[in-house]
């Protein structure tokens, strides 16, 4: 067991906990520095959720109800990789999103936009041996929030990944390329410039299926391992 099994993020990879333009961070962010832990078994192990059985419809959010949801059908596909470009085989990928009108199937969402009885908005997929995952869904709408005057979230899909270890846990959001709302979104902009662009999926004509759906590619990169020292 090495004391630094997983590489640490460098400054500029992640948002600052306190990002005041995103107002909720002010009351919810630690001000003291995190204590750096050497990596023991507690950090280099983690849940694989390998025994979770996924239903066939879980990665197709358009087939979870009686009929197809309203909205623009899309394919979101990509790979779960580590920093060395190696696939993370079998990685569980969880997503959730609002419907095409910009409303979440959630009692806390009071936005004056219609719910879609045919859209629940949650999905799971398991990456294959090469790290490939795929979802079929509808493009989520933009929606207002109360962070500041006339605040709108750009269309986004929430992603949750565990990776191989407690140390690799990641929750993030995928955005759509060239969305004009990105320039005004303090959550997206909480990530330093140069890194935030990684959260934009790429439109991909090769993933696009004729007469059926546009395709977007979104690769997710989790922490990689340090090189094994000579022993």
């Amino acid at each position: 067991m090495k004391e630094e099994t997983y590489r640490r993020a460098t400054a500029g990879d992640h948002p600052a906990n306190l990002s005041p333009d995103y107002k909720s961070t002010v009351g919810r962010s630690p001000r003291k520095s995190a204590v750096v832990l050497p990596h023991s078994l507690s950090e280099i192990t983690g849940p694989s959720l390998a025994t979770e059985r996924l239903d066939a419809s879980e990665n197709d959010l358009t087939k979870q109800r009686m009929a197809e949801p309203l909205g623009e059908r899309i394919i979101v596909q990509g790979r779960v990789l580590d920093q060395d470009g190696k696939p993370v085989p079998g990685a569980l990928v969880e997503i959730w999103q609002c419907n095409a009108a910009g409303r979440y199937h959630h009692p806390g969402d009071q936005h004056d936009a219609p719910l879609d009885p045919n859209f629940y908005g949650g999905g799971r997929a398991r990456a294959d041996a090469d790290g490939h995952y795929k979802f079929v869904t509808i493009k989520p709408g933009a929606y207002p929030w109360k962070n500041h005057h006339n605040a709108w979230r750009p269309a986004h899909i929430h992603f949750s990944l565990f990776g191989p270890a407690f140390a690799t846990r990641l929750i993030t959001q995928m955005y759509f390329p060239n969305d004009p709302l990105l320039a005004f979104d303090p959550i997206y902009k909480s990530v330093p410039a140069g890194a935030r662009e990684r959260l934009q999926a790429a439109f991909d004509m090769d993933l696009t299926q004729p007469e059926w759906a546009l395709g977007y590619r979104f690769d997710i990169v989790l922490r990689g391992r340090n090189a094994t020292p000579m022993e």
Partner: protein, 187 residues
């Protein structure tokens, strides 16, 4: 070839049902070895107000001190039905309740053993990066020799140590900031 890390973002307020309902807060079905315990985690903001829209995840070894993971190759028993992972959203009073078994001790890279602990992840609206901390058990004789607690300044160690209430439930308040700010770890 080096790939750039995918940056973190907040879980936001609208995860309920879509991800949290898929997992149990009861980690230890009947038959799992060890001392059954109830753990209540309570989330507070910097002003001490409870956070009703957060998510706690826990990850722990079994009662023998073995993690259910390929990386833990020690010759210790695994318990059928015990993965060691739990997830629960906070209720209106800021709490999440887990039923599990008290974890055994796990080794430390430089030698020796760590005190029994549960690894905790915290997510919430307004929390842009996963916050990681640990829950230790008050009164455990191993606390005095725990190598991680020794990395923490003595006056803040209490933020990591759960206390038992009259019903035997282990309680730990987690403060995202403020005068009682919990110790978080860069894992």
């Amino acid at each position: 070839m080096s790939h750039a890390l995918t940056p973190s973002q907040t879980i936001g307020p609208f995860y309920w049902g879509t991800i949290v309902n898929a997992y149990h807060a009861d980690l230890a079905p009947t038959g799992v070895a060890g001392e059954r315990i109830e753990v209540v985690l309570k989330l507070h903001d910097v002003d001490g107000a409870v956070v009703p829209d957060g998510v706690f995840e826990i990850w722990q070894a079994n009662s023998h001190g073995r993690y259910n993971h390929l990386e833990d190759r020690r010759n210790l028993p695994l318990d059928a039905g015990f993965e060691g992972y739990g997830r629960a959203g906070t209720f209106t009073d800021g709490t999440s309740r887990f039923t599990t078994v008290k974890p055994g001790r796990v080794p430390w890279p430089a030698g020796g053993l760590q005190a029994p602990h549960i690894n905790v992840s915290i997510f919430a609206r307004g929390v842009l990066n996963r916050l990681a901390t640990r829950l230790y058990f008050d009164g455990d004789p191993a606390l005095a020799e725990d190598p991680v607690l020794k990395l923490v300044e003595p006056g803040r160690r209490d933020t990591l140590i759960a206390k038992r209430d009259g019903n035997g439930t282990w309680l730990l308040s987690i403060h995202l900031g403020g005068p009682n700010e919990t110790v978080f770890f860069d894992v």
